[in-house]
């Protein structure tokens, strides 16, 4: 079966600024694919090109086998889009927002009514159908936007930072719904700067930085390729770190120094912690954890994902 998204040498420039600097991406049907990177990495620009609302400056792009430059409406008819901002009419009710959006696809009202009821059930908003949108919580609005993106029964669902700004409980509710969609075989493409979101939802992802793809693979493969199995995080009192860094020499495979902590990459963090203590160092805080995509990103770019 042909790829849902096929991009080669994709470029997006805004005047002199290059937002996307020649990326190659393929996404297959049924896959959950992620663009991971910090703000300004070019993720949203890429999503808007895939969503057929932003013409590429250069390169080859096919979405659902069609060219967004010439077949935009036909592509968008088969897409579901969760934009970075909710873009809801807050004066209208939950159900009215969905009805109006569904009508944009030309779907008959008699088909939309039962579909809206089913989707509100799915995103756990059935009891708010007749309520105005304005007082809803951020998480509820986000779930409403997901329902809106599913109105046309899309073959491909694009989610631009689906949980940015939500509290942890609201994020988990959104993740749970997206996980169910993934189980139902919906192709998901999402952007995020949360590594836990990418780890939970994505079969495969690319790490983006400054408009380029710096790594590609499954979350597990990326961690295996670019980080050690475990990490020892040490916190030292402000200013009192110079001597300690030299004293850590040889304990770990690699040492990363961040403004607020020092990371020691090693296969066995417990053993490294014991070695730190044995050398007479007394950090304020010691955390032993597994490596994550955050560490992959740090390794590849020298910077943290969330600043």
């Amino acid at each position: 079966m042909s790829d849902v998204i096929e991009a080669r040498g994709l470029v997006k420039r805004f005047g002199a600024f290059t937002a996307v600097d020649g990326i190659d991406v393929r996404v297959g049907r049924g896959e959950a694919f992620g663009f991971l990177g910090p703000n300004g990495a070019g993720k949203s620009s890429t999503m808007r090109m895939i969503g057929a609302v932003s013409p590429p400056t250069a390169g080859h792009l096919r979405v659902l086998g069609r060219d967004p430059a010439t077949d935009g409406p036909a592509i968008r008819r088969r897409l579901g889009v969760v934009p970075q901002e909710d873009m809801l009419d807050t004066e209208l009710t939950v159900a009215e927002n969905l009805l109006i959006h569904g009508r944009y696809f030309g779907l008959p009202v008699r088909d939309l009514r039962p579909r809206i009821a089913r989707l509100l059930d799915f995103v756990q908003l059935a009891d708010r159908a007749g309520d105005r949108v304005e007082p809803l919580s951020g998480g509820m609005k986000r779930r409403l936007v997901i329902a809106r993106a599913l109105l046309n029964d899309p073959e491909l669902l694009l989610l631009d930072e689906p949980t940015t700004g939500l509290d942890p409980q609201a994020r988990h509710l959104v993740w749970d719904r997206l996980y169910r969609l993934k189980q139902q075989g919906v192709t998901l493409v999402l952007t995020t700067h949360y590594m836990d979101e990418a780890e939970q939802l994505c079969d495969r992802l690319v790490v983006m930085d400054a408009g380029r793809i710096v790594a590609e693979g499954s979350p597990r493969d990326l961690v295996a390729a670019h980080a050690t199995r475990e990490v020892l995080e040490l916190r030292f009192p402000p200013g009192g770190r110079n001597g300690e860094l030299a004293a850590l020499e040889g304990i770990a495979d690699r040492v990363e120094e961040l403004p607020d902590r020092v990371l020691l990459y090693t296969a066995d963090a417990e053993r490294a912690a014991a070695a730190v203590t044995a050398r007479g160092l007394r950090p304020d805080g010691v955390v032993v954890r597994r490596s994550t995509l955050e560490d992959v990103f740090l390794r590849l770019t020298g910077r943290s994902l969330v600043e």
């Binding site: 609302v53 873009m87 809801l88 959006h101 030309g106 046309n152």
Partner: protein, 263 residues
């Protein structure tokens, strides 16, 4: 997919969306676009008009000040409604709530938004002008046939400002210029474009400015229709002038919407 797409259908879907949203929040816009002009007509036409008529104003078209004012106010109110009904929904749809932006994730294109938006404004103008015409008849300011004939020029006047205002509003990233337009553009236009007195009373240069505004042409047409008197210029010239603003504004709006929304 069995949905057949004809060129006008997406614009009708946008029109329908605007109507559905309006059905929910109709009260305040209706009061501002219908009730306020009627208060003007009562206060100026009956109150002030009583004074004017007593001083003898036989050269006013229509014979009484009320009959002179009513068609002018119909066109001027449509002009105001054209600005308000065009500017704020575009602001809301493109910059604040971004519902117009969300609509573009569907098969709709920016030109469909423009077309549907202006169709909706036209319907609102038609309803507003018709309501005003009925009230003018009830107040004795016009006869039914004349009042009905003045509705068409009213709608055209409103569209002649609504189309360029939509084209311009979409390019704004902040509100202050729009507020300036309403305060320093719309209000003088409302007062000095032949609505309350003939522009012949203006000093020469200002008369030329007034004659260049779409409102003056609309007022001339509406007044000619209401009181069965020939307009200042041939009716075809006034109509062509309004049509140029409508079509020009509409085409520029299609361009500016696409430039702002597809990038």
């Amino acid at each position: 997919m069995t949905v057949t797409t004809t060129a006008y259908r997406p614009a009708l879907l946008v029109l329908e969306a605007r109507a559905r949203a309006y059905a929910r929040t109709w009260l305040i816009p209706t009061v501002t676009t219908v009730v306020a002009p009627l208060l003007f007509l009562a206060a100026m036409g009956l109150g002030l008009g009583g004074l004017v008529d007593r001083r003898g104003a036989a050269d006013l078209a229509g014979g009484s000040y009320l009959a002179f004012l009513a068609p002018g106010l119909l066109a001027a109110s449509a002009m105001q409604a054209g600005v308000q009904e065009s500017a704020w929904p575009v602001r809301l749809g493109v910059h604040w709530q971004k519902t117009y932006v969300a609509a573009l994730t569907t098969p709709l294109a920016p030109r469909d938004l423009v077309d549907g938006h202006l169709l909706w404004v036209a319907l609102r103008l038609l309803a507003g002008a018709a309501a005003f015409a009925v009230a003018a008849v009830v107040l004795g300011a016009a006869d039914p046939a004349g009042a009905a004939l003045a509705v068409g020029p009213g709608v055209l006047t409103g569209l002649a400002v609504a189309a360029p205002v939509a084209a311009w509003t979409v390019t704004l990233e902040r509100d202050h210029r729009l507020i300036a337009l309403i305060r320093f553009g719309v209000t003088p236009l409302f007062l000095f474009s032949g609505t309350f007195f003939p522009i012949a009373q203006l000093p020469g240069p200002l008369r030329a400015v007034a004659a260049a505004t779409p409102l003056w042409h609309g007022v001339e047409l509406a007044r000619a229709a209401a009181v069965a008197r020939p307009p200042a210029l041939p009716a075809a010239v006034h109509l062509a002038y309004l049509a140029a603003w409508i079509v020009g504004g509409w085409l520029v709006a299609r361009h500016t919407f696409a430039r702002r929304l597809i990038r």
